[in-house]
C-alpha cells in the first residue's frame, strides 16, 4: 500500500512539473516575408466578446475588430491614424465649414448585390441618427441633412462647423451596411467590406470569407478568417501555443512567455492611455498647484516597470509620441517625479498634511493594482488616498460624481477633438466635475471650428500642451498593445488607433 502511495505522489508531482515547465515549441516552418497562401485561414483570438454585428448599435470601439472586415466606412484611417479614402474617395468642407461634400467610390456593390451609391449613404446615416438603440446617434447629431447631389455625390449639411466629422466617419458612425439588410444586421451583417460573415455565434465566434469583388484586391490576403473571443490573456497564449489560433493580443505579463515559446510579439503604443482622472469640482482640486503636485508625486517609470514589465511609455499628455497631436516641447517628462516639489506645491495651496483623497476604483485586478500603487505614491507626499471599489466606474465617477479621483484607461478616439471634448470640456461625459479652464475651452472651440487639416493638427497639439500645463488630468502611461503571432502570419501590424484592421494579413504558403 505504501508503495502505491509513493507512486501516486510521484505521478501527481510529474503532472505538476509537466504543467509548470515552460512549454510550446517554436514555429519554424513559416516565413514572415514569404509567399502568401491564397487559401490560407487566419485565426485570431480577440479579448472582448462581440454581442452584435450591427455597427450602429455596437456600443464600443472594442467591437471594431469584428465589424471592420465586413463594413467599410466612408473614410478610413491608416496605421498611423491618418485619414485615407474609404467608400468616399474625396471629402471637402465648404468655405463656411457647414457642409461636407463627399465623392463616393464607383462600381462598388454590397455582398448581397445591392449597389452602393448616394441613396445607401443617406439611408445609413439616417439610420444611425434615428435607429432605436443607436449608439452612434450622438456623433451623427451634427448632421442636419443628407443631400443627394447625384448617384455618387453627397452633401452633408451640418448644424454648425464640426471639423471632427471626417474622423467620426472613420468609426462605426460612418460604417455603411446594405439597406436591404438593415432589419437583421446584428446577426446577418452585409457590407461592402473585404470579408463577409459566413458563420456567427453571438458573444464568442465569427467566421469570415473573402469578398472576391472587393475594391482593393490586396486587402483580403487570407481566404478565411476565424475570430474567437478568449477573455483571459493566459488562455489566449495557451491557444497560440497549441496552434489553435495564429494571432492574438496579450497582457504585458504574458509577453515574455510568448517570446520564449518562439512567437513574434509586436509591442507598440496606441491611442489608449491610463490616467488618474481628477474631479475638479472637489475641494482643493480646483487649484492648479494641487493638480500639478499630484502630477509630480507620481513615479510613472515605476508604474510602467512594475505593472507593465516595461511594456508601455510614461506620459504626461493625453496623446502618444508619434501622433500628430503630441507636443514635443512638453514631451513625456514635463512633470518629472519630484516628491519634494509636490509637497511644496501642496503646502503652498494650503492642503493639510494627511488630507484624504477618495479614489474610485473599477473593481478589476489591473485597476486595483494601479490604484494601490498610486495610493502608496501619494502617501509619500502627505496625501491620504482611500480606495472605494465600484463595479460601474462610469456611473459612480462620471454620472454620480462620487470620489475625488479615479485611475482608469481611456480607449482613445479617431479624432483628438473627440478625446478632448469628452474628457476636458464642461459638457464632456467623461469629465467628472464638468470643470475646465478658459484657455482649453477657447482652443477647443477653435479646433472644432477649423476644417483645415494642418491647422487642426496644430490646434490639437496646442490643446494637448494646454491641458498638460493646466494639469487638468494626471496622465500616467500609454500601455503597449502586444500583438503576438506565429511566424506563419504575414502582414500583421499594430494600428495606432488601437484596433487591428487585418488589411493585407494572411498566412504563409507551405
Amino acid at each position: 500500500m505504501k508503495v502505491w502511495r509513493h507512486i501516486a505522489v510521484v505521478g501527481v508531482v510529474a503532472l505538476l512539473a509537466a504543467a509548470c515547465s515552460s512549454g510550446g515549441t517554436a514555429n519554424t516552418n513559416g516565413n514572415r516575408s514569404g509567399e502568401l497562401d491564397p487559401n490560407g485561414i487566419f485565426r485570431f483570438a480577440d479579448t472582448l466578446p462581440i454581442e452584435t454585428l450591427d455597427p450602429h448599435t455596437s456600443p464600443g470601439a472594442g467591437n471594431n475588430v469584428w465589424l471592420f472586415p465586413v463594413y467599410d466606412r466612408l473614410i478610413h484611417l491608416n496605421e498611423e491614424a491618418e485619414l485615407v479614402p474609404g467608400l468616399a474617395t474625396e471629402w471637402q468642407f465648404s468655405d463656411d465649414g457647414r457642409t461636407l461634400a463627399l465623392t463616393l467610390r464607383q462600381g462598388v456593390t454590397f455582398t448581397d448585390g445591392t449597389p452602393f451609391n448616394a441613396e445607401a449613404v443617406k439611408a445609413n446615416l439616417e439610420r444611425g441618427q434615428t435607429l432605436e438603440g443607436s449608439a452612434v446617434a450622438a456623433e451623427l447629431a451634427v448632421i442636419k441633412e443628407v443631400e443627394i447631389v447625384d448617384e455618387y455625390h453627397v452633401n452633408l449639411h451640418l448644424t454648425d462647423v464640426h471639423s471632427s466629422l471626417p474622423y467620426v466617419l472613420t468609426d462605426r458612425a460612418g460604417a455603411i451596411a446594405s439597406p436591404a439588410a438593415f432589419d437583421n444586421l446584428s446577426r446577418a451583417p452585409v457590407g461592402t467590406g473585404m470579408y463577409k460573415v459566413v458563420e456567427y455565434q453571438p458573444g464568442s465566434r465569427a467566421v469570415y470569407e473573402r469578398n472576391d469583388d472587393y475594391w482593393d484586391p490586396d486587402a483580403a490576403a487570407a481566404a478565411r478568417m476565424e475570430f474567437t473571443t478568449i477573455t483571459d490573456s493566459l488562455q489566449r497564449l495557451n491557444a497560440l501555443r497549441s496552434g489553435s489560433i495564429d494571432a492574438t493580443i496579450l497582457a504585458a505579463n504574458d509577453v515574455a512567455a510568448a517570446q520564449q515559446a518562439g512567437f513574434v510579439v509586436d509591442s507598440q503604443p496606441i491611442l489608449q492611455f491610463f490616467h488618474l482622472q481628477l474631479n475638479l469640482s472637489k475641494p482643493y482640486l480646483d487649484d492648479v498647484r494641487v493638480r500639478q503636485a499630484i502630477n509630480h508625486a507620481i513615479n510613472r517609470e515605476e508604474l510602467v516597470q512594475g505593472l507593465l514589465f516595461g511594456l508601455g511609455e510614461p506620459a504626461v499628455q493625453p496623446f502618444p509620441r508619434g501622433y500628430f497631436a503630441f507636443d514635443e516641447e512638453i514631451g513625456t517628462d514635463y512633470y518629472e517625479y519630484n516628491p519634494d516639489k509636490a509637497r511644496q506645491l501642496l503646502a503652498d495651496a494650503g492642503v493639510p498634511e494627511g488630507y484624504e483623497l477618495e479614489l474610485i476604483n473599477q473593481n478589476a485586478p489591473q485597476y486595483t493594482q494601479l490604484s494601490e500603487a498610486i495610493q502608496a505614491q501619494l502617501a509619500d507626499v502627505g496625501l491620504n488616498a482611500t480606495i472605494t471599489q465600484s463595479t460601474i466606474f462610469a456611473n459612480t465617477f462620471y454620472v454620480e460624481g462620487e470620489g475625488d479621483a479615479g485611475a482608469i484607461n481611456w480607449t482613445g478616439r479617431p479624432d483628438p477633438a473627440q478625446t478632448i471634448g469628452l474628457l476636458y470640456t464642461e459638457t464632456g461625459f467623461a469629465n467628472p466635475g464638468g470643470v475646465t479652464t478658459d484657455e482649453v475651452a477657447t482652443l477647443y472651440e477653435q479646433l472644432v471650428a477649423t476644417t483645415d487639416e494642418a491647422a487642426r493638427a496644430d490646434l490639437a497639439r496646442q490643446l494637448s500642451r494646454q491641458i498638460t500645463l493646466d494639469a487638468l488630468d494626471v496622465v500616467l502611461y500609454f500601455p503597449y498593445e502586444n500583438v503576438a503571432y506565429s511566424d506563419r502570419v504575414i502582414g500583421l501590424r499594430p494600428w495606432l488607433a488601437g484596433k487591428l484592421e487585418f488589411r493585407g494579413v494572411g498566412i504563409a504558403a507551405g
Binding site: 502505491w4 456600443p59 450622438a138 446584428s186 458573444g203 464568442s204 497549441s242 496552434g243 456611473n395
Partner: protein, 312 residues
C-alpha cells in the same frame, strides 16, 4: 408512476415563479445601469436617459417583472436589453452545447466511477481500494477549472493531442466534436466520477454483506450473476441519486469549464450577461436550468422506481 410525474410538474410551477422572482429581486441589489453601456461610449447624459426610458428601466421593477411573466407564459422569454436578440433563440443555440458537455461528463462519471466503485468494494482494504479511494479524494478536492488548466497544459500544449479552445457541434462533425470535448468532459466529470466511485463502493460493501447475496451465492449462482444481477441493482440506487444531484452541480461547474475551454454554452452566455447586466438573459438561463434540474430529478425518481419496486 403517472401520479408521480403529475405531482412533480405541479410543484415545478411555483418553483419557477419563486426562482424568477428571486433573480428579479437580486437584480435590485446589483449596482449599475445597463443604459450607460448601451448608449455607447460617446453618449451624452440625455441619450443615456432616453435609453433608460426606451428599455423601460425607469419603470418599477414589479411592473417589469409582471410584463416578463406574461410573456414567459406564452413561451416568450423576452429580448436581450443589450442586443435585442430573442432570449429563447439564444438559449436554443447554446443549451445543446451545455447539455452535451454535462451529459458527456455524466457518462464519463458513470463509466469511470462505476467500475472503480465495484473494484474498490470487491478489493476492500487492499491496495486497489486504497488507490481508488485516494484518487477519488483528490478528484473531489481538486477544483474542476484547475484540473482543466492542468489538462490543457499537458495534453493540449505540451503534447498537442487536443485543441485548447472551441467546440464543433456533434451534428456537424462527430469526430471533431469528440476531439474537442474530451478534455472539458474529463475536467468537468472527474469530481462526479470520484463521488460515484465512493458512493458505489460504500453501498456495494453494505449490499455484499446482506443476506440475499449470501442466499444467492449459496443457491449456487455464478459469482458474476450474483454481483451483476442482485448486488449491483441493489447498490445502484444511491448512485442514481448521486448522479441526479451531480447534474445540478455539473451545470453550475460548466459555467467555469466553458470559460476555461472557450465553449459557447449557456455558462459562457451567463457570465457575459451578468457582466453586461443583461437581466433578461440571466432570467432565461435560470428558468431553463431550473427546468433541466427538475426533469433530471424526475428521471432519477423514475429510475429509483424501476430499480427498487418498493418505491413504486
Amino acid at each position: 408512476m403517472l401520479a408521480l410525474i403529475g405531482r412533480r410538474l405541479l410543484v415545478t410551477l411555483p418553483l419557477l415563479l419563486f426562482v424568477t422572482l428571486l433573480v428579479n429581486l437580486m437584480s435590485l441589489l446589483v449596482p449599475g445601469d445597463p443604459a450607460v453601456q448601451i448608449a455607447g461610449e460617446n453618449a451624452t447624459h440625455e441619450q443615456i436617459e432616453l435609453t433608460r426610458q426606451r428599455l423601460g428601466l425607469d419603470r418599477p421593477w414589479h411592473e417589469r417583472y409582471l410584463d416578463w411573466l406574461a410573456g414567459a407564459a406564452r413561451g416568450d422569454l423576452g429580448n436581450s436589453v443589450f442586443t435585442n436578440d430573442s432570449v429563447s433563440q439564444l438559449l436554443q443555440e447554446r443549451l445543446p452545447v451545455t447539455l452535451a458537455l454535462t451529459l458527456s461528463a455524466l457518462v464519463f462519471a458513470a463509466l469511470v466511477g462505476v467500475p472503480a466503485g465495484i473494484l474498490a468494494a470487491l478489493r476492500r482494504n487492499r491496495w486497489q481500494d486504497s488507490l481508488i479511494r485516494g484518487v477519488a479524494t483528490i478528484g473531489i478536492a481538486m477544483p474542476g477549472y484547475w484540473l482543466g488548466l492542468l489538462l490543457l497544459m499537458v495534453f493540449a500544449i505540451q503534447l498537442g493531442l487536443f485543441p485548447t479552445i472551441g467546440y464543433t457541434p456533434l451534428t456537424e462533425n462527430p469526430a471533431a466534436w469528440l476531439h474537442g470535448i474530451v478534455l472539458p468532459t474529463v475536467a468537468l466529470g472527474a469530481p462526479a466520477a470520484a463521488e460515484v466511485a465512493r458512493q458505489l463502493r460504500r453501498s456495494m460493501i453494505d449490499t455484499l454483506q446482506q443476506d440475499f447475496v449470501r442466499t444467492a451465492t449459496a443457491k449456487g449462482l455464478r459469482y458474476w450473476m450474483v454481483l451483476g444481477k442482485h448486488a449491483l441493482t441493489h447498490a445502484a440506487n444511491p448512485v442514481v441519486t448521486v448522479l441526479a444531484t451531480q447534474m445540478a452541480l455539473l451545470l453550475g461547474a460548466a459555467v467555469i469549464i466553458e470559460k476555461v475551454f472557450v465553449i459557447p454554452g449557456i455558462g459562457e452566455l451567463a457570465v457575459n450577461s451578468v457582466i453586461n447586466k443583461d437581466l433578461t438573459i440571466v432570467q432565461g438561463i435560470v428558468v431553463v436550468t431550473t427546468l433541466v434540474i427538475v426533469v433530471t430529478n424526475l428521471l432519477a425518481d423514475l429510475a429509483h422506481a424501476w430499480l427498487s419496486p418498493r418505491t413504486r
